[in-house]
Symmetry: C2
DNA sequence: GATAACCCGACTTATTAAGTAGGAATCAGG
DNA sequence: CCTGATTCCTACTTAATAAGTCGGGTTATC
């Protein structure tokens, strides 16, 4: 079923936190406190997001992190993809069970579609698009 | 993201196999061969399905397993629920990330809805209902 | 040069997944 | 009532993944 690892959820929450504070670098410490994310673990995650080019960072006093693109141009799928990596598994459903592939495929497609629609701006702004589609 | 354990996939495939051979008991050995499922593991899974009341069994020669209800009355969700158990986790999304809860909720709901619609008869018969909803 | 921050790889620990093992119980046919 | 086919059941093993933790290094500002 649908399952997001703690790591992925943390990444999403951290990114939303950045989306909610545009303009100035946000230190990891503040994100950690606001979202209750273990500090060292968060470092780790932010590093991964930065390496993927989704966020930027600045060291030293008044340093911190900020989004590399406008919040409206970063989708939840972007972040999940970075954290979970490409899920390259094509399980075979032999014989009579073969239609199950279509079912799972449709499910994944819908999921990807929806997550690609929703941006950090939507979430941080509290105004989500229609979720029934 | 969407992920079904090997165990769950095996359970689905085994159930479809039963749906495709109504009337007579199907021995585990045949399911194992048709679906390439490790024999002992399959035993284990079928036992779980039986205990949940989804299938029946008969020991001895000409024994085997069969569906406890018509294939049209067993949904994929029924099977997944039995194997994965109730997923009782309500992760908190504090502060600005709170709307993420709605997003994940909507995703899960759509998933459950679709999986509750599709029955073993659909899959075994190869005629799936509209998957775009 | 002190302080505030990020940077980085490696390590640890707990849980879950995926199966395996060994046999006991049951049932049909001869 | 014996044999072989089959299910039933608990427990065990092994590998992978998840979820952090650790120890320090680097960079920037004042």
């Amino acid at each position: 079923m649908l399952r997001l690892s703690a790591r992925t959820q943390y990444a999403l929450r951290a990114a939303v936190e950045l989306a909610a504070a545009p303009g100035a670098p946000v230190p990891a410490e503040r994100i950690s406190a606001a979202q209750h994310i273990p500090r060292r673990f968060l470092d780790n995650i932010l590093l991964q997001l930065r390496r993927a080019g989704l966020i930027n960072s600045q060291r030293g006093p008044d340093g911190g992190y900020w989004l590399a693109r406008p919040a409206a141009e970063i989708s939840l799928a972007d972040i999940i993809l970075v954290i979970e990596g490409v899920t390259q598994e094509n399980d075979r459903f032999p014989g009579v069970s073969e239609p199950l592939e279509k079912v799972l495929g449709a499910l994944r497609e819908h999921q990807n579609h929806l997550l690609a629609e929703i941006t950090l701006a939507h979430v941080a702004g509290g105004s989500l698009p229609d979720l029934s589609r």
